[in-house]
């Protein structure tokens, strides 16, 4: 019999509906994989009972003919989404033990669509990181290994590294991610899976632990483009509880999938090919260009002149917003409290935050506080907002000449855990190709492009016009069909 954990979301949904297997069999198979994979540290909390409960409801619905879009499909939930009655930590000590009394809009939509929860997935603390090394609950280890026999533990990417590792290791067929500067796309690239960040405002931010509110967007991660379309349809939609939620109907992205790109123009931004771009990354990008041409697209050269300023712009705006958002962790209303003997209120705040936040979180709060402080606000923050406008204008002008952009997702394959940890700046450079689209709020997706010489996955990024997730998914599908990416990590855990 087929191993149920090898199936995609679409195959689980359709096979379950056809009566090939029960939802309980699917949930049990994934629960078993989760339980046997503690070496990956992908989950902070495992909820096998939740997965079984949803499965039993799905099996009953199949009998009564009351099926929902995701009936029978268990998924992983990034531990940045508040889940009622289930600890939600953002991988921080600050929120250790925090048990929401409410459900985030995105997770509620997924449960309403019939999905079940396998557990809460590890991440970089407060989603700040590109390697999953800032989690209070320990590093996530990628299931992938280099083919050099050295067995060095590799980073699964970040911040959605629990999600990417769990999907690549067949612990769940799909998971939620969130993307502020690349936190869905870079981990997807590192682990040979797909993930899409939709247009800013498509998915409600309500109930998602906030990092940088003008950038944060939820999105799905899965092994196929079709699965991403299915999940995104369930997650997206207007929510009056999020002031920046877009009041627009949710397109039927799965039904609209087509890998025929005739009539589409794909732009290749020259600024994404700097001197010193890794040769294997450049070669994979060239293959991607050939695949899209083969699918019928016309390839055009475009320029995004302010690309080199995107990362420094991001590292002003994101910490500024983070310093404001994370001011809420004061030891009074929720989360940890540190109350040294004889401490007053201000001492309690400072002690609580010193104990509750990890090093990278403190660093970003400090930068954000500095760039927003009196005397520096205009020089740093206002200047960054102006450069952000120029970066967005670059994309607008490029999209006057093309419908989509194709770039690499990350400048390298997965690095070893610990390898880039000592230099925050080197770590930030991982997001050099993903941050620009985040600053402009554009839909962007990573799909596997192949393996490098070390046997590690590399990702291709497709960036689309605002609200045109369909074209992004379709180009992703065209690449997926041609890349023929079937590699998977050998099981060692």
């Amino acid at each position: 019999m087929t191993d149920l954990t090898d199936l995609t979301v679409a195959e689980i949904r359709d096979g379950f509906r056809a009566g090939d297997f029960s939802a309980r069999e699917v949930a049990s198979a994934f629960n078993a994989n989760v339980a046997a994979a503690s070496a990956l540290n992908a989950f902070i909390v495992e909820t096998p009972e939740k997965a079984l409960e949803a499965a039993d409801a799905a099996d009953a619905a199949r009998t009564s003919g009351d099926l929902k879009p995701l009936s029978g499909v268990p998924i992983g939930m990034k531990d940045l989404f508040c889940t009622q009655g289930v600890q939600t930590t953002a991988a921080s000590h600050m929120l250790e033990g925090f048990t929401p009394t409410y459900e985030s809009t995105v997770s509620a939509k997924l449960w309403d669509a019939g999905a079940g929860m396998l557990g809460k997935l590890n991440l970089d603390q407060f989603a700040m990181g590109s390697s999953n090394e800032t989690s209070f609950f320990g590093n996530v280890v990628s299931p992938w290994r280099r083919n050099d026999g050295g067995n060095a533990p590799l980073a699964p990417g970040g911040s959605s590294g629990g999600s990417s590792a769990a999907i690549a290791a067949r612990l769940c067929p799909a998971a939620t991610g969130t993307d502020t500067g690349g936190s869905i796309r870079q981990p997807a690239a590192f682990t040979g899976i797909s993930g899409i960040k939709p247009t800013y405002g498509r998915c409600s931010r309500w109930g998602v632990v906030a990092f940088a509110s003008s950038l944060d967007q939820a999105g799905p991660m899965a092994r196929t483009v079709r699965d991403n379309a299915i999940l995104l349809e369930a997650m997206a939609g207007f929510d009056p509880k999020d002031a920046t939620s877009l009041d627009l109907p949710v397109p039927t992205w799965e039904a609209g999938l087509s890998s025929d790109l005739k009539g589409k123009k794909v732009g290749i931004p020259k600024e994404y090919r700097p001197d010193g771009l890794d040769a294997e990354i450049a070669a994979m990008w060239d293959r991607g260009i050939a695949w899209l041409r083969d699918a019928g697209a016309q390839i055009v050269d475009v320029s995004l002149p302010h690309t080199k300023y995107a990362l420094p712009t991001y590292y002003i705006i994101a910490p500024a917003e983070a310093s404001s958002n994370l001011a809420r962790y004061d030891g009074v209303r929720y989360g940890q409290r540190e109350l040294p003997e004889g401490a007053g209120l201000q001492d309690m705040y400072a002690a609580t935050r010193a104990a509750g936040f990890g090093g990278e979180v403190k660093r970003r709060i400090m930068i954000g506080t500095y760039v927003l402080s009196a005397g520096f606000y205009d020089a740093y923050y206002t200047q960054a907002q102006k450069v952000r406008a120029l970066i967005a204008r670059d994309f607008e002008q490029a999209f006057a000449q093309c419908d989509l952009l194709l770039t690499p997702t990350a400048p390298s394959a997965a690095f070893a855990l610990g390898e880039e940890q000592d230099d925050p700046l080197a770590m930030y450079l991982n997001d050099v190709f993903t941050v620009p689209a985040s600053l402009a709020g554009l839909p962007a997706m990573s799909v596997p492009g192949g393996l490098d010489a070390q046997g590690l996955p590399l990702g291709l990024q497709i960036i689309g016009k605002p609200l045109d997730e369909q074209s992004v998914l379709n180009a992703g599908l065209a690449i997926e069909e041609r890349a023929g990416f079937v590699a998977r990590p050998g099981k060692w855990w």
Partner: protein
Amino acid sequence: MLAALPMSIDLQTVKKIASLSRISMSEAEAEAMVPELNNILGWVDQLGEVDVTGVEPMTAVIPNHLRLRDDVVTDGNVRDKVLANAPQPEHGFFTVPKVIE
């Protein structure tokens, strides 16, 4: 342009930022933070070279209207839920250390 930027951040500035951030920090932690923040801020200083004449600061990436709703109570009567995760709730209230002597 960023002409007014200081050359670098010193220990005293780090301590001031930490205080504004409400993060207590030992002398050693603050000292370690000095080069880290200087590296990062030195790197973002390159934004000063961008000509932004006539450019409005971007405040929303996707054009969207802030919505109004009727001025009515939409929730409430959830005191126990609100307090459920408080580190030290008492008698239906949040508590803090004494602030008035």
